[in-house]
Amino acid sequence: METVSIIFSFIYQYADNIGFLLLAAVGLIIIFGMMGVINMAHGELMMIGAYITAFAYHAGVPAPIAIIFAGIGSGLAGIVLERLVIRFFYRQLLSSLVVTWGISLVLTEGFLLIFGPSILNVPTPFGSFGVGELTFGIYRLVLFGVALLLIGLIWALFSYTRFGARARATMENPEMAEAFGINTSRMYALTFGLGSALGGIAGGMFALTATISPFFGVNYTLFAFITVVVGGGANVITGVTTSAAALAGAQTIVNNAWSVYVGYVSMMLAAFLILLILPRGISEYLERRKIRVAKKNG
């Protein structure tokens, strides 16, 4: 009985950690992974989502609808940001890194000024269940499930819809896409808004478990970036899922053996090592392998 609960606890933590990384990364998958646009303020868009969720919830809106509000709010905020600032920096990666970092500072400090450092809380729904002597929160598994669901939806959207085809054409070759009559600048704004909306939904989901403060976003931005970067750009969806699985694996094992801090460090180290061996990310390697296997068989 004892060992069963330990093993389950391990699996639970692993799923929790994967869910965290995937959900944090879900908006950046589109914005950075697919469109190649840097946004250091992504965590702050998630923070906006978290605030909207918390305020809506305390105003009596049921949590799921509050989270949808968060998605809409963050999405609109994202489009505004893209139109006002980010679109001027598409061809300068480092400058866009710096300018969006400035935006993140403005949003953090602005929220601090308006809402103060006080921490908003939304109760975590669904209660818990027990395995052996240990109890586990159900909501964490819901987070994991929602993360997978959202990633599935992104994949379907980009693979099977007209919008997805246009977005892929835009990122593949903007000039060519333009020549075929696609309004690429609107495509960039829309995909940026979509990524921000997903970030807002993720922020809303996290709002039910984490404490919400103006400094909510920083950690999510970094973890999201690392997950997407380690995943690589060749096939973003498989890349991000495998990289989340790998990084969360390192984190979970070390977390249990040592401490939470060492767990974080080991995750960063794992990211560092993967990037050293595969500078273009995991998915690049997977794609190359697929081609090699296909050649051998064909």
Partner: protein, 380 residues
Amino acid sequence: MGSNEQRSVLDKYLGRLNGPQTIGRGVPFWTCFLAVVVVLALCPEFLSRYEIINFSNFLISGFLALSLCLLWGYCGVLSLGQAAFFGVGGYTYGIVALNLLNAHGNTDVAFVAGIVVPTLLAGILGLIMFYARLAGVYIAILMLVVSLMFELFLLQTADPDYTIGAAYIGGFNGLRPASPDDPLLPSLIFGAGESVLEFDGRSVEFYYLTLGLLGAVYLGLRWLVNSSYGYLLVGVREDSHRTETFGYDIRLVQLSVFCIAAAIAGLAGVLYTAWGTFIHPNQFGLKANILPVIWVAVGGRKDLTAALIGALVLEWVGIRLAAVGEISLLIMGAILVVAMLVTPEGVVTTLARVVEQGRAFARARWGRGGTGPRSERQDS
């Protein structure tokens, strides 16, 4: 032409300090430079002690700005975690000074260690990152992660077990002596044997020391970026593939400039710890990392003078704003975003260009005015 004679006189005395990689080459610029130095040197005469202490801190920011300017502006390697080297320098200085002060009576070793250790750290990190040919964006973010990891680690060292000899790391309490018998964290004390020269962080002497070092680093970097090495840096920034085709090992260039920048940031950290006889994990935090980026981006990343002016002016503005309320960082962020939208090359750089064009126009129109000939041609 008279101005050419002036130019050759300048070249004779300034040599490599004057070159196309830096704005400001003519007589007016160097006159202004001297005037600023004189004004800064006379500050203690007409400013209060409190303001001199603040000014010392502004000057320390200048080192960090020069460090990031060299790295990002000249070589095109952006690090969002330049404060990591600042912090490591500061902590190293503190730890070594606490341990050796009683035995040596000076902080010579600590001063050197505070510069060498960050340089070595940069060497290791750079060796890994540049030789793996990581993309620039990844390097920028990884450096931020490294710095935040240092902060996270140091914040949880409040446990009394975290001591290194006579130094107690102290977590969120900041670095301090391990026991009441150990000496306090000292200011800079240079010396050999009996004769020592002490620079108390709150003294005018410390201000002059910082001013002198900043001037030396500024002029040294001017010389460096106008040497053939400087051209190589700009080559790597502008087109790394082409530079590589010419037979240069760009990884080595990036690694070396990364180390030089880290050494300067480490020096800033040493001075900071000595200035306040205190260092805190905050120095690795987000704010400590974003401010240098703001100074350099707003001033003008591609020129040492512009970055330095950006740092000094914005630090001064920041202190004024802090007196108003908790809006300093908000305004800094807004300044950054607006400045990058309006003047992508930086405010000071853009202003310098406008002045240059105005003088060129005046020369063309009235056939005189302006003593910096040829400069507009070299800019293009």
